[in-house]
Amino acid sequence: MVSIPCFFIDKCCFEKTMTYETVFNQKRECAVPKKIIQKLNEITSNNVSTKEVDRVSYSKDYMPITLRWILDGKLPALPDCIVWPENTTQVSEILKIANNEKIPVIPYGDGSGVLGGSIPVQGGMILDLKKMDKVIEIDDSSLLATVQTGINGMNFERYLNQHSYTMGHIPQSLYCSSLGGWIACKAAGQFSTKYGKIEDILVALEAVLPDGSVIRSKKVPRSSTGPSVERLFLGSEGQFGIVTEATFKIWPYPEKQILESYVFSELSDALESVRNIMRKNVYPAVIRVYDKNETLRHFYDTPNVKDKVMLILLMEGDEKLVELEDNISSYICKSKGAKSCGEKPVKHWLETRFNVRESSDFTPKGFVFDTVEVSVSWKYALEFYNKMIESMREIKGVVVASAHSSHFYPQGVCFYFTFGGVPPKNVEPFNFYQSVWDNMMKTCIDQHGSISHHHGIGLIRSKWLSKEMGDRFNLLKKIKHAIDPNNIMNPGKMGINNEYQ
């Protein structure tokens, strides 16, 4: 058995964070024996790296605190090697070796996960899926697309657009995330109210289990054939194996779009309007409600938005249908005292929605921040929002505490909170970060919410998953143990094996 350096676990995995000096001066060697590397090279036609520069590149994902660490001279972790398979057979052969040798395997898409899901906390092998990027089939009559999961989201969407389709799954990370990552993190896109979240769009998949066996589900719209076991991979975050191929719903490119926006005096009125729109079974593709602070932040160019709440709507599809959706939503919003602001704010959102610059602007100034997306039913929504904002502000050092909502259901809503601030004197940035997270997670559970709507668990939420799931957590652990008895798949995450508790 290979002894894998365990850099990162214990009570709090981040306490043992390595500095650049320790890593680079000690020239930490790859712990995977040469003969295994040689076998991996044979399987993949030499698509393996143990180079220092590659190991550094794969030491992190996009978990915000690791951005601060770049500047503080700290590395979150270090993998031993990186392997790039090109097809399912290669993935299967690689997993067989890893399973025999008990080497940790960390699936890696585009590394845009924000919870540390692809950080190699116990070293081991990064399995980068980016070379698995082939579009396998477009079935026009059934509106299905089958594709290898390592493909980048924007490259797949552009492929579909070229052929006059869309998948309708447009997360803000479209440009920097992979389809496999979407399934593994149970992602949600900006147009989700109409097209659904990834679980609504996914029809079938192929996956490789830790012992190298391959499972495939059928490309059928539905079946009543026992539990859909393959759906365990939705939100699995690399715990059960590798999703290698997937079949998704696609749509003809929409004929018409209508853009409309409204301002409300209070958040409660805006939420109430959306709730009523949903109750009418009307599904605009995009619905976004911004609290007063975020309205100021994003729509400062719109007149008279101070102390107001902005709602933007984008309806798309068949011309008659979207006109009807516009009429119904307009009537509902106006009856709640809303004032129309027209297309401009929606256009502004469309133009700026991928301009992610805050992390680059604020991290070097010493600010620590994150976003926390959670869900709650309508019954508790408003109280929930207020308590969550309070929970952020309770932590000394927090300056920004705000939220918007962009995923709605007739039953409830996802709130997307942002916190940002400066750690107080003598408080480690990570401890400050962790305190805000802890307070928010506790409040969320107390206030009837679910701790994640679409980013997943990864490292930072792992200690909260057992509380979230209650008795179901034991079942999850049993399933994990049955599928992956050697715990090679992405160990140290989701609290499944008690690390980082």
């Binding site: 590394g111 980048n152 975020e294 010493g366 000394k396 927090v398």
Partner: protein
């Protein structure tokens, strides 16, 4: 824009914050980033590198190098992170140089970047620091040595007979001089036909672009000064380049070193669009053609319409557009001297673009000799726009 409006949300946030936190936040806001900068002086633009290394890689999907290799290390943000670690002294030049020279300087990243960064341009300063460490990949040194010895980046393969003084100076560029006599012939004949007083340098040297990009600034300045002198001696009023990179470097980079050519610099497509009335196309073009926009031409020089104007005026020609055209074009693989420094990556990029273009037509038209070389070396049928025009002129007009 009204700055106070832009930051109103921060003021609103601060209004909910206790005084001690507010004061600390303001202090960080004003002085924060100094802690994260290297102590030594660098040529690199560290603030941009830091921003880029903290970005979620929003341009990665369109970066040809990143897409060809599928290695996180070669994604723009990861390269920025590696550049930062090098500039801070954590990683040695030897470990990082190969990675940091892997860039086509194609500006695809700038299309999507919230800061409008051209990552290739950002790397230029890092290359200067790597040169100072003298620890570079062999291919980089080799290219510099070739230019130093031969004054061109490749062997000259032909001579064009022409005057050395005149109003219009035609600057062929290294790739034309070594591989594409037909482009030089086409351009000079078209100018001749238009009755121009054209000239050509007696001994044309490299414009210096590879030296500049690779970070050999002293060598670049030396060659640029000589070029300036040679160009001035011709007494030209306009300088016409077949290569977009030559045009760009003369126009935008020479002046940064106070080397002002002080004549109008045109790319060949601008000249061809302007002199469209002086040549008449009579040949029927039987094949379909697709136009490939060279990265430097569209993104650094902003020339999108002129070649289309020229080509659409040829009634006998069926022109197709690729899905990735105009500013959304994709690199031919040879930008940033990648054909010389990283032939493996370069070829993968060329292959991908060639496959894409082949979906639309049998033959490719482009307006950059380097793009032409890249595609034709992999078996593509490809014409420079000037060659096509010259070929389309009546036989008697071609005399």
């Amino acid at each position: 824009m009204n700055i106070s409006k832009k930051y109103a949300w921060i003021m609103d946030s601060l209004s909910h914050t206790p005084f001690s936190v507010k004061a600390r936040a303001m202090k960080h806001f004003l002085t924060g980033k100094k802690e994260y900068l290297p102590k030594k002086n660098t040529n690199a633009d560290i603030e941009s590198i830091v921003k880029c290394s903290l970005c979620p890689n929003m341009c990665r999907f369109d970066c040809p190098v990143s897409e060809a290799e599928k290695n996180e290390t070669l994604s723009p943000s990861a390269r920025a992170r590696i550049a930062y670690l090098f500039e801070m002294g954590f990683l040695e030049g030897e470990v990082v140089a190969d990675t940091l020279y892997s860039c086509c300087n194609c500006d695809a990243c700038r299309q999507w970047c919230p800061f409008e960064f051209s990552f290739g341009d950002i790397l230029q300063g890092v290359h200067r620091d790597l040169v100072e460490e003298n620890n570079l990949p062999k291919q980089v040194f080799d290219l510099r040595d070739t230019i130093e010895k031969k004054h061109v980046s490749d062997d000259k393969s032909f001579n064009i007979v022409g005057k050395h003084k005149g109003d219009l100076l035609y600057f062929m560029g290294c790739t034309v001089m070594s591989k594409h006599e037909s482009i030089a012939v086409a351009m000079t004949k078209i100018m001749e036909k238009a009755g121009e007083k054209w000239a050509i340098l007696e001994d044309e040297w490299c414009c210096g672009a590879p030296l500049y990009n690779l970070g050999f600034i002293d060598d670049f300045v030396e060659i640029a000064e000589i070029n300036l002198h040679k160009i001035r001696e011709t007494g030209c009023k306009e300088l016409i380049c077949s290569c977009p990179t030559c045009a760009y470097i003369f126009k935008e980079i020479y002046p940064k070193f106070k080397l002002n050519i002080n004549v109008k610099i045109l790319h060949a497509t601008e000249y061809l669009a302007r002199s469209e009335k002086s040549y008449k196309i009579s040949k029927e073009f039987e094949k379909n053609y697709v136009y490939h926009d060279p990265c430097t031409l569209v993104r650094k020089l902003g020339i999108v319409e002129q070649p289309r104007y020229v080509l659409n005026n040829i009634k006998e020609l069926t022109l197709k557009e690729s899905y990735f055209h105009g500013k959304d074009t994709q690199c031919c693989g040879r930008g940033g001297s990648m054909g010389r420094t990283h032939p493996g990556i370069s070829e993968k990029i060329t292959k991908k673009r060639l496959e894409e273009l082949s979906k639309y037509a049998d033959s490719i038209i482009t307006a950059c000799p380097t793009c032409k070389s890249a595609f034709s070396d992999l078996g593509g049928e490809v014409y420079d726009i000037s060659e096509l025009i010259y070929a389309g002129c009546k036989t008697d007009e071609r005399q």
